[in-house]
Symmetry: C2
Subunit: 341 residues, 2 copies
Amino acid sequence: MNKTKLTLKDVAEQLGVSTATISNAFNRPDQLSKTKREEILAQCKKIGYSGPNKAAQILRKGTSNIVALVLADSISYMVSDPVASTFIKGVSSTLQENGKHLLLYAGDSDSILDVVDFVDGFICYGQPRNSNLVSELAVSPKPVVTVDFDIEDKPSINIDNEEAAYRVASHALNEGDNVAIFGLRLIDSPSTCRIYDNPLIDVDSSIAHRRLDGYLRAATEKSISVSNERIWHLPESDRHFARQAAKEVLTSSPRPNVVLCMSDIIALELLHLALEMGIKVPEELKITGFDGIEEAERTRPRLTTVCQSSSEKGVEATKALLNQVTAKSTLPFELQVGDTV
Amino acid sequence: MNKTKLTLKDVAEQLGVSTATISNAFNRPDQLSKTKREEILAQCKKIGYSGPNKAAQILRKGTSNIVALVLADSISYMVSDPVASTFIKGVSSTLQENGKHLLLYAGDSDSILDVVDFVDGFICYGQPRNSNLVSELAVSPKPVVTVDFDIEDKPSINIDNEEAAYRVASHALNEGDNVAIFGLRLIDSPSTCRIYDNPLIDVDSSIAHRRLDGYLRAATEKSISVSNERIWHLPESDRHFARQAAKEVLTSSPRPNVVLCMSDIIALELLHLALEMGIKVPEELKITGFDGIEEAERTRPRLTTVCQSSSEKGVEATKALLNQVTAKSTLPFELQVGDTV
DNA sequence: CTGTTAGCGCATTCAC
DNA sequence: GTGAATGCGCTAACAG
């Protein structure tokens, strides 16, 4: 048992060969004979040398096999969100297949600078809460792939949110409907509220605004107008925020007969509260969701929603990063008709 | 705009000071005057130098601020499990507070050797599916903290699983009861089944066997015997596995009037199926869970279970790692009486 | 308080 | 196929 950790140099001395030979045995099999290589590896194993030091390799090679997944929010929040965790699944399984490691990075961190030097690239899932990260990613020397939002000149994975929202809303709406919308992060407020005349945030870049565009396009086509006091802002796709909005909307008068929700989580919360209150769905209240999470499939009545495959997004984003793809790509979505419309 | 990335040496030259001064300005404020330091930092900012290269620091200092969280299973599975994701929350928030980064590591990986050189330590949550990892962690030169299982001589965070199981079972059981148990990973099988005479796995180290001990102690005290055909094995705490076990147990004859479940997820699935089948809970069927997840609090009737704070486990494990604690510690649990017993 | 120097452990030239 | 030399970018020790 050696007390101090073996280095490549130690091993080379012990085996009576040069350091390059040991290095090649581990990294470049073509540089030496098969028998010699295997002999060396066997010897190394015997003396307890498990290969070149990774920290040194990172410096020397400039690659670490570590990919940073930058989340929109704190890790705490994202990891319990079913949509985000499904995305993480897709990323992690693809990384694992390719021998890469996953570093989880919070979107409310100050900066990516303290990892940019040693990670091989970034997957950025949703617009980070700290917009500083976006600027840093934009000029990062390491590859970046964004998902559910865009950075100029960087590859991205998206669905057509406007069209998806339009499709589900078109399915739900009829002329004369009284419509409310549960939106996500539309204005700059930490709590659930109607948007009224508050300034909208990230109108150009946020998917929430694309979805809103789609909803409103469908409404307009049916000659329905939706005023700003019928549009709720929820800071997160979270059932607690949703519950409050649901209470407000279901006790408002006149009560809307359609509520378009920007996520399944908030749609389900509304659905539950409506049923508790004895409101008939869809006869008295129609509800649409967004995402297509598993819980929505299990719930009765089944939620009408737009399915996007979050895990596939994760897979595609990871592949795009690993293969140095530079194009932006748009994934398909699917209208899923349930019982709530 | 410099095309090639600036190094500390470049900067030192440009500013006309030595490399050590630049290094000290960033790393050891006490080594130079405040004014000089601030002047240097300002200059660096101006020329676009954001600090010493982290990859080089990792090699030089031997620390990276990266902590690996080794999960029991694939990341895919763990990230959607509410108990695990709550644990991850605790870990990630504590790491973030301390400026550390989180590397997620799958328990079905081949080896920890490809990260051991550059991470600062390991938190191991549950016994990794690949037992090889346990051997490697046992001799790791980097600090290790285990949670929900033990490695000799390494600090750990646990609850008293035997006692917790005993307590909830004692609450549920009455003399003459017909008892079934839904256990986790009791035998080596990838599918739901009764354990019969199959060889039990990890009897000494697994928390599932401690819980089983507790259940059986409570049963024995009430003069109840539980045969091996009344004990189910589920490979994971997953609703799909649970559904199958639930079907089996609810259609078995004589049907048990108490089912002790080793997780809330599987208890809830059993509860749902029982209600679908028109079985009255708790009159005809009593159910206990384990963990105390949020969904169990929301569900009606409320599940009787044992609450353990997974997020606190995460916090404590992280603190133990960062503070180099060496003692094993046991966290409290709490019996949560609901409506299902 | 500041500058010089010697590695951290390795991979890659380039000669042989 | 192999071995010696250079430096990846930095920090800690030391000398001034």
